[in-house]
Symmetry: C2
DNA sequence: ATTGACCCTATATTTACTTCAGGGTTTATA
DNA sequence: TATAAACCCTGAAGTAAATATAGGGTCAAT
């Protein structure tokens, strides 16, 4: 299977798939006689796994850790638990911050909806105001 | 005022403040005779404004646009409105994605809390499972 | 034989900083 | 007065996670 085929099949871009190979997230990629990359079921499984991990916000570094547990089925999964728990914690912190950001943006958004001079703009006036100091 | 002082006063790191000067987000920085940077109220105001913008998730590029409205008080603020509205839209999209991520992570988190072999781990089994294909 | 659709490598660009290497200056103290 | 700690400088490289670009090879069809 050529790179364009597996890109279609998995939803990753061609460049991303080549990048993942360079990062050793996609492994054991074969080559055709003409030097084109050759992919099989193993690489599809790898990319599916990567996609699952991306969907829960893991970094490529963290994905590698989980891959090592895939490859060492006898390893203890404590590290896996911790990784997921810490990812969840990070996501919740991000959510909290984003919620605050949303509130503030929503407020700003309400301060001006006309087209006037910037120095009379409610948004600019609010942003110009010193806070938190 | 030296860079360490303004760093303390504004909460930005020294390196970040130098970086912002290079990016022309902080402007008109003076110099002492010994070549040390010299900051005043103008730079404090600039950094306060930058902080406000960061708090609502704006990029440095977007901050520059808002700065140009500060510097041109007669400019029409339509661009400001649009920028804030589009930032709000982006934040809401991010929130939606993060909420889904949280759900999935929370589910994964419930699948294992013991310490066993990875190939029997509920988390790993779930991640290994092909979905969305 | 030439076009268009693919594929290759290597390098550069992006964002927003952070870190590092290799210095000079100022201030406190012994 | 010497010296060490604390602070400042520049320029370059590193970070994450791709994306884009330059320059060129391969393949299928017309
Ligand atoms: Zn919510
Ligand atoms: Zn306005
Ligand atoms: Zn097993
Ligand atoms: Zn487990």
């Amino acid at each position: 299977m050529k790179i364009g085929d597996i890109a279609n099949k998995t939803g990753f871009s061609i460049e991303t798939i080549r990048f993942y190979e360079k990062q050793n997230l996609v492994k054991n990629v074969g080559r055709h006689i003409n030097n084109y990359r050759d992919y099989g079921d193993e690489q599809i499984a790898q990319l599916v796994f990567i996609k699952q991990c991306r969907n829960i916000g893991l970094s490529n570094k963290e994905i590698k850790i989980l891959q090592s547990h895939l490859e060492n089925p006898q390893s203890e999964c404590g590290e896996v638990n911790q990784l997921i728990a810490s990812a969840l914690k990070k996501i919740r912190e991000q959510l909290k911050l984003l919620h605050e950001t949303e509130l503030q943006l929503n407020y700003l958004n309400s301060l001006c909806n006309h087209n006037g001079a910037s120095h009379e703009c409610g948004i600019m006036n609010e942003l110009r105001t010193t806070r938190h100091f």
